[in-house]
């Protein structure tokens, strides 16, 4: 979690739900590569073709609302998206992203300030989001310390491994 994340911004609106992120018609598999082929398809059918390694999703409030499907953050991560910045996250999506190691950042200011196609740099340690294109900086809401511990262990299953002594 120490390296700086950098990519082009793709903007989405409020209440982007898990059916838009990965429609249920593709949930007969949990293969990340298969899921990535259809990521965000019902919000923007061209997105799976346009997205490149490192790109950043920038969205409004309540990102990831709806289903508990972990396929949603898995598809986003497997498509090469390096981070999601949103005004707020739906709670199950928030947990799932932390648990599988998809970096997510809450910052209404960044969402307001970043436009489609802007190049964005994020320092996950400090939560500082830099809009390289516009030369502006924003700060993400801090991640609670206990949750950071899970992230630092490398996700919840790594944390479980330590706890259960299953090295």
């Amino acid at each position: 979690m120490s390296e700086v994340l950098r990519g082009r911004a793709f903007k989405f609106g409020d209440d982007i739900n898990t059916d838009e992120i990965i429609p249920a018609r593709y949930l007969n598999t949990s293969d990340p590569k298969e899921l990535a082929k259809h990521v965000m398809e019902d919000a923007d059918p061209e997105f799976p073709k346009k997205v490149r390694e490192g790109d950043v999703i920038v969205a409004g409030k309540n990102f990831g609302c709806g289903s508990s499907r972990e396929h949603a953050p898995i598809a986003i991560k497997a498509a090469g998206v390096s981070a999601v910045i949103a005004k707020s996250f739906a709670r199950i999506f928030y947990r799932n992203a932390i648990n599988i190691g998809l970096p997510i950042f809450e910052s209404p200011e960044a969402v307001e300030g970043i436009e489609e196609g802007d190049v964005v740099e994020i320092n996950p340690e400090t939560g500082v989001i830099r809009n390289v294109t516009k030369g502006k900086e924003y700060k993400a809401n801090p991640i609670p310390a206990d949750i950071r511990r899970i992230m630092e262990a490398g996700g919840l299953m790594e944390y479980a491994k330590q706890k259960l002594g299953l090295k």
Binding site: N17, D19, T29, S30, L156
Partner: protein, 422 residues
């Protein structure tokens, strides 16, 4: 300072005297469930860790309900993975096809979840069990894998919202109409991360099936859980089913709430949520211009016996409109058999409905009733997002079983009075 029912259950399971909103806690879990969409990811993680046994083989519930009977080869592989895992790890709570039902109807019916429990499910509608006076919430597959191995889950203690309902319901107004009305009022993130505690005389008046519907849709307002204090109706439901001892909690009079709403249910008309958000609600009388192609009566929200009874009451002696297909899905085998005994299935067949074995199927656009481009459905399900029931350019209108059945007859969204007379 007093605590709410939610805080008391969480405190008890975290081994603490009290818990406060915002606090992070590790909680013991009573039941951890997953379905054929979410279990495979959790199973792979348990296996990847090389774990040879789970925390408790009587507390893990595996419910293949989304794409069963398997709709295609990939879906069949997912159910097979569950079956093999259940066998290998000796998981006691596994229901194969022919015994299974929709998870959130099945587990309360079978007495697997009981009042006072902490239940997590790798399914967002796990919040349904709040109707029993349990704390229950949806999580992802990794949280599930962690709980299967440790029996624990981490939570941030949610802020508490209270909804007090009073007044007498109008005819045809059900739990579904009440919760749609509330979601319309507060929005799809109106309860984000919070508890929705439902209370008041109009809640105590409601049958259990309607209470399940109200708690089921807490997630549609972004909530962590929905909950209703147990009363004599809860006990009557639980007594004959419970497989374990249970504990009844009540909120203290001086418990603290971040928001309190008072709602006069006598003012609520039957509701319809327009595409593409459950909060996009209108009274049914403002929706009767919408023509439809399909009706779905079923799901974890409204596939219970009283839902089928209301639909049958409206469809009795009528025919489904020739432009509409009406798909009825009893949520469990027990509900299916009860409906048969009461002659409800016969009424549906006489009205020329499709009657299906229990499955989530069309609710999430899985199978058994997918919409083509441009088609519209009235459904008693819980979500009307873009593409939820099929083509991204199809539309879902959420409503109660009464409105859905009336709409099936009329070929457009209809008030039940239009079909059976007031």
């Amino acid at each position: 300072m007093g605590m709410t029912i939610t805080q008391k259950i969480l405190a008890e399971h975290a081994g603490k005297e009290e818990v406060h909103p915002g606090e992070l806690i590790m909680c013991k879990v009573d039941i951890a469930l997953a379905n054929d969409v979410t279990a495979p990811i959790a199973i792979k993680q348990v296996r990847a860790l090389g774990a040879k046994k789970v925390w408790d083989n009587e507390r893990i519930a595996l419910v293949p309900d989304h794409f069963v009977p398997a709709k295609d080869i990939k879906a069949a592989e997912q159910v097979k993975m569950m079956r093999e895992f259940a066998r290998e790890y000796d998981i006691k709570l596994f229901w194969p096809e022919g015994r299974v039902g929709i998870e959130h109807a099945l587990l309360p019916e079978q007495g697997v979840v009981v009042p006072g429990d902490v239940v997590i499910g790798a399914d967002s509608h796990t919040c349904t069990y709040g109707a029993l006076g349990a704390f229950s919430t949806g999580v992802g597959s990794t949280d599930m894998a962690y709980a299967w191995l440790t029996g624990e889950v981490w939570f941030k203690v949610p802020e508490q919202m209270k909804f007090i309902y009073y007044g007498k319901r109008q005819k045809w107004v059900s739990g579904k109409d009440i919760i749609l009305y509330v979601i319309g009022m507060i929005g799809v993130d109106g309860a984000l991360y919070k508890t929705m505690e439902h209370t008041g005389e109009a809640i105590r008046e409601l049958p259990m099936d309607d209470r399940f519907t109200i708690c089921n849709m807490a997630i549609e307002a972004g909530a962590k859980n929905g909950i209703i204090e147990p009363d004599e109706k809860t006990l009557e439901y639980v007594k004959k089913r419970a497989k374990r001892p249970y504990k009844l909690y009540k909120s203290d009079p001086d418990a603290e709430y971040s928001e309190v709403y008072e709602i006069d249910v006598s003012k609520i008309e039957p509701q319809v949520a327009f595409p593409y958000l459950p909060s996009n609600t209108r009274p049914v009388t403002e929706a009767t211009h919408v023509t439809i192609d399909q009706v779905v009566i079923g799901s974890c929200t409204n596939g219970r016996i009283s839902d089928l009874r209301i639909a049958a009451q409206i469809l009795k002696g009528k025919k489904v409109n020739p432009n509409v297909r009406c798909i009825v899905i009893p949520a469990t085998q027990e509900i299916y058999r009860q409906a048969l005994k009461e002659g409800l299935i016969d009424i549906f067949l006489e009205a020329e409905c499709v009657v299906s074995t229990p499955t989530c199927g069309p609710c999430l656009g899985g199978h058994m009733g997918i919409l083509a481009k441009g088609e519209r459905a009235v459904a008693t399900t819980n979500r009307n997002f873009v593409g939820r029931m099929g083509h991204p350019e199809s539309e879902v209108y959420l409503a109660s079983p009464a409105v859905a059945a009336a709409s099936a007859v009329m070929g457009r969204i209809a008030h039940p009075d239009e079909v059976v007379g007031s």
